[in-house]
Symmetry: C2
Subunit: 252 residues, 2 copies
């Protein structure tokens, strides 16, 4: 049995709490948040506290607060026996107070407030200063059915950047398609199967191999037609730049 204390009340903290509660191999001892009202919904399931000095021992403290608050919060921890991890993609493991046993437990996934999370689809990037602590984080990931990867701080920061491309930027391309098709009164539902298949394809094929379309074929006629029909200058610039990028990748 792994005992855990959670610090913070955002999406990651809340989804982790729910997953830990479901696991037979994890017990959540305490849940701390500065503003206790944000976790009061769960007060019958777990000991909720807003006074950090009341934190008791546990195998792992999980700091799931905003990036800027991690370092300072770690400095206020007085118990020195537990492993203390943060869940951020971009903060270094060394930003945690150096008197602590330190590590990182970063879930590489997008979380909504409302939708429930299937943790079998959430890979964790794990890192510890002390090699011996790695086992504990592996077991924690396993206990909620998640994959884990041993990832250094530098690699994690690169993954965080890559995630911006495949998640935020990709989502913005969906948004642009939505805008363009709205103008012509086209139901966005028509594009949904293509969106899904595009993501499915690279599950078993490299993005390089999966590429198709006018840029890939250097089909100048279609590219010109598309650029002419785009009215929004920013959309035009995005079309041009990504077309150039595809042509460069494929030596066109």
């Amino acid at each position: 049995m792994i005992s855990v204390n959670i610090l913070g009340a955002g999406n990651v903290a809340t989804h982790l709490f729910k997953a830990f509660q479901k696991s037979e191999n994890i017990s959540v001892n305490q849940w701390y948040n500065r503003d206790i009202s944000k976790i009061s919904t769960y007060k019958n399931e777990v000991s909720t506290i807003d006074n950090i000095s009341l934190l008791e021992e546990a195998d792992i403290y999980i700091i799931a607060v905003s990036d800027d608050a991690i370092s300072k919060l770690s400095q206020s921890l007085t118990n020195k026996n537990q492993l203390v991890v943060h869940t951020s993609g971009s903060v270094s493991v060394y930003d945690l107070d150096k008197t602590l046993r330190r590590g990182v437990f970063y879930p590489l996934q997008t979380f909504s407030k409302t939708a429930s999370v299937d943790f079998s689809n959430v890979p964790f990037c794990i890192e510890t200063i002390d090699k011996q602590d790695l086992e504990l984080l592996k077991n924690l990931a396993n206990a909620i059915g998640s994959q884990w990867y041993k990832i250094s701080t530098e690699q994690r920061q690169t993954l965080h950047l890559s995630a911006v491309f495949v998640n935020n930027f990709t989502n913005q391309l969906y948004r642009i398609a939505h805008e363009i098709s709205d103008i012509q009164n086209i139901n966005f539902d028509i594009l949904k199967p293509l969106i899904l298949e595009t993501a499915n394809k690279v599950q078993h094929m490299s993005p390089y191999m999966a590429q198709t379309g006018p840029a890939m074929r250097n089909d100048k006629k279609t590219i010109k037609k598309h650029l002419k029909s785009l009215e929004n200058e920013q959309h035009k610039a995005i079309y041009k730049l990504l077309t150039e990028s595809i042509k460069k990748t494929h030596g066109r």
Copy 2:
């Protein structure tokens, strides 16, 4: 029973042939291609021909050739009783020879040569000059288990452009993430669940509502850090432009 003749031997022609063969309500009478060797694999399943004057009557002729070849091929059709449709996203229905009963049967999906296609995930954009012919295309889509949408030529061209954004450009963002993570010896598998979830999210939520990340929050510190770590100038330009686009969409 709907009788069909297929013209062309590319991905769309081949996948349609296979789907039609499986359907109880469709019979493929003839399959024409200029170069008969490309369809000879199927000569025991269907009458294959390379002489266009041998085409016999059928309810629908499906022209699934490259965009540039559609108009000319339609001019060589001498039987005038069947509905003639092309399967292109960007060619106008009026590009088909005007002496014919004309229409469009455009599958909005990405096809691989090798992978088999589940047509329940392929929406068809259908259009006919004569309203009465619409029913025939609806029935054809239904007979292979596909959704259909009544879409004008102008709307279809917009959808084709939108498809470039959600398919080709999105795939290029996956490719860039692959490149960036390769430099740090990161297994691309770690990003696959996020890619899938990003596509899943917009199946039941608008891309506008689904957006998260540093650009959305206007988190200048992270944006600056990311730009600094990108070495490739083109990747940097794409990061900047899509960040600006997200900020504009969300009024940041």
